[in-house]
Symmetry: C2
Subunit: 329 residues, 2 copies
């Protein structure tokens, strides 16, 4: 039952090293200078005893919990693998800063934010998948809890936001297709519902895609097989010269490929397709497609790093856009 380190306190370490408890604390935190000999003795005692400071006691005394919260969206339509990559990326980065990560779900809403803020269980907060009109944003501002948002709400005044540069992603897709010699290109987007909900994201892709170069169409599309089939057919009918397609709708990718095959298009030869979405989606169709991925890990690392800086009282840019990367396969 009582393993090593079980119930070991700073007093035990102090006794073993022959110093005062406060000295141990200073060795561990580095907040006052301690002679190398003493420090060594303390570190040795820490190692011998397998000592780890009691998190609650530390948080009570220092007013720093050493924990950040991450609030995940639970809503459908979020791509789960990306979320997971994000979460694990955030944990990994947080651990580098000696922080732990508390997982919350968006369905706790503003009340959840108030709870963690008041209970001081976390020092800061990362809010994922922020919508243009997000009810949590106002609460966040009121609480004054250090935070970083993934995504941009309508009013980002005074907030720290990080996101993929979706405009650049749209532009990259258009450029890729143009370079392949496609004269007429189209963007097959997500369902109308997505556009309606979070204009920020889908619209920025559209803007980037349309850009300033040549004829281009943008077509929202539901993700069920039948709708995709129909939408692609209509798109081809309406644009006879269409030779390039960007797909910003993960679940639809497979169906798009079928529809193109049915229409007699040879993808990779007389027709080009590029995906905005996670690698797996682009890899698991035949032929494999080039894609612009949502760099979940980078996004997570950036968010955590920014939050750490804020907690340390350093300043960070209000708005950070991560450059998209187009992978050719």
């Amino acid at each position: 039952m009582a393993g090593p380190g079980r119930g070991t306190t700073i007093a035990d370490v102090a006794a073993r090293a022959g110093v005062a408890a406060s000295t141990v604390s200073y060795v561990l935190s580095g907040k006052r200078s301690i002679s190398p000999e003493t420090a060594d003795r303390v570190m040795q005692a820490v190692a011998d005893l397998g000592y780890h400071p009691h998190a609650g006691a530390r948080s009570l005394a220092s007013r720093r919990a050493g924990v950040i919260a991450m609030m995940l969206p639970l809503r459908d339509g979020m791509h789960l693998p990306v979320l997971m990559q994000f979460a694990s990326g955030a944990v990994t980065e947080a651990r580098r800063h000696d922080q732990d990560v508390l997982l919350m779900t968006a369905d706790e809403g503003p009340a959840g934010l108030a709870r963690v803020a008041a209970s001081a269980i976390v020092d800061g907060l990362i809010l994922m998948d922020v919508e243009v009109r997000d009810p949590r944003v106002e609460t966040l501002r009121r609480l004054g809890l250090p935070s970083v948002l993934i995504g941009f709400p309508a009013d980002a005044e005074g907030l720290t936001c990080v996101d993929l540069d979706f405009t650049a992603a749209g532009r990259a897709c258009a450029e890729y297709l143009r370079e392949r010699g496609c004269g007429d290109i189209a963007l097959l987007g997500a369902s109308e519902a997505v556009y309606a909900r979070r204009t920020g994201f889908a619209e920025r892709v559209r803007e980037g895609f349309l850009g300033r170069s040549g004829p281009a169409t943008v077509q929202p599309c539901p993700d069920d097989p039948v709708s995709v089939q129909r939408t692609v057919k209509e798109l081809l009918a309406a644009n006879p010269d269409l030779t390039g397609l960007a797909v910003h709708n993960e679940p639809a990718v497979g169906h798009v490929m079928h529809a193109l095959a049915d229409a007699g298009k040879l993808v990779g030869e007389d027709f080009h397709v590029v995906v905005i979405g996670p690698d797996e989606v682009a890899e698991r169709v035949h032929p494999q497609l080039p894609s612009v991925l949502v760099p979940a890990e980078t996004l997570a690392e950036t968010a955590v790093r920014h939050l750490m800086r804020k907690l340390d009282g350093l300043d960070v840019p209000d708005s950070t856009l991560i450059e998209p990367q187009l992978t050719i396969r």
Copy 2:
């Protein structure tokens, strides 16, 4: 900066309600009887002030953190969406018990377990994706930290384990195919590497599939398009009467369907396919396939519930197998 509830302590609540701090504590915890009038006054004060107990102070005084840890595997080959469903299911269930969830990654290994145990940052632990020979298991046993494992290590003595009943899943697939009149059936499994690593899981499916009924083949298979294509071809060549296939290899499902189409098989008519894997995989091919899913949410809820019981000193079964559900589409 200082919003409501910011810095509010139990003393503030006590003052407002005209009682002692200890009384507030007893009202909140229900550990001693308090007159209804007093309780009402206290609750009112709590509401007025937006009071939430300081988590660190509470954990220090009560030796209960109100947080459980969840250790996620980061290894490739784990299906990310399932992990995510699991994580969010666990958080949701934990919140029902007024607990928070700390996210850890498996790469912290045994040392991570020792850390969270010694720092008392969590009260208990859920370990996902436990392997047959898992180095964390021994540490866990030594630490005596209340825990629930997802999966079964070789030596589960004294541990609480929860998992999908994979044997039953294999059996269900075989039965489904038999019922469709398939005489000769096969199981297309994961790559050899998976079998090698975690015998428990893949082998149990195989056993269930082979069962006692009629001719059946089990064929491990890598998940790249080319290998899948070849494996399916060989399988068909070696078993000319094959009319039923179970696929226990998520990324391969799409390729399997192509290979069968190439071989002239009409899935759903003269040939039947069933998937062991998440819904999306089975839904996003044409035709949609029946599937046995890993019930991530149920698994997570069960794990959390078991852990809560252990924390309350109640006992729980050492081993819990969740019944698989075959969904027909």
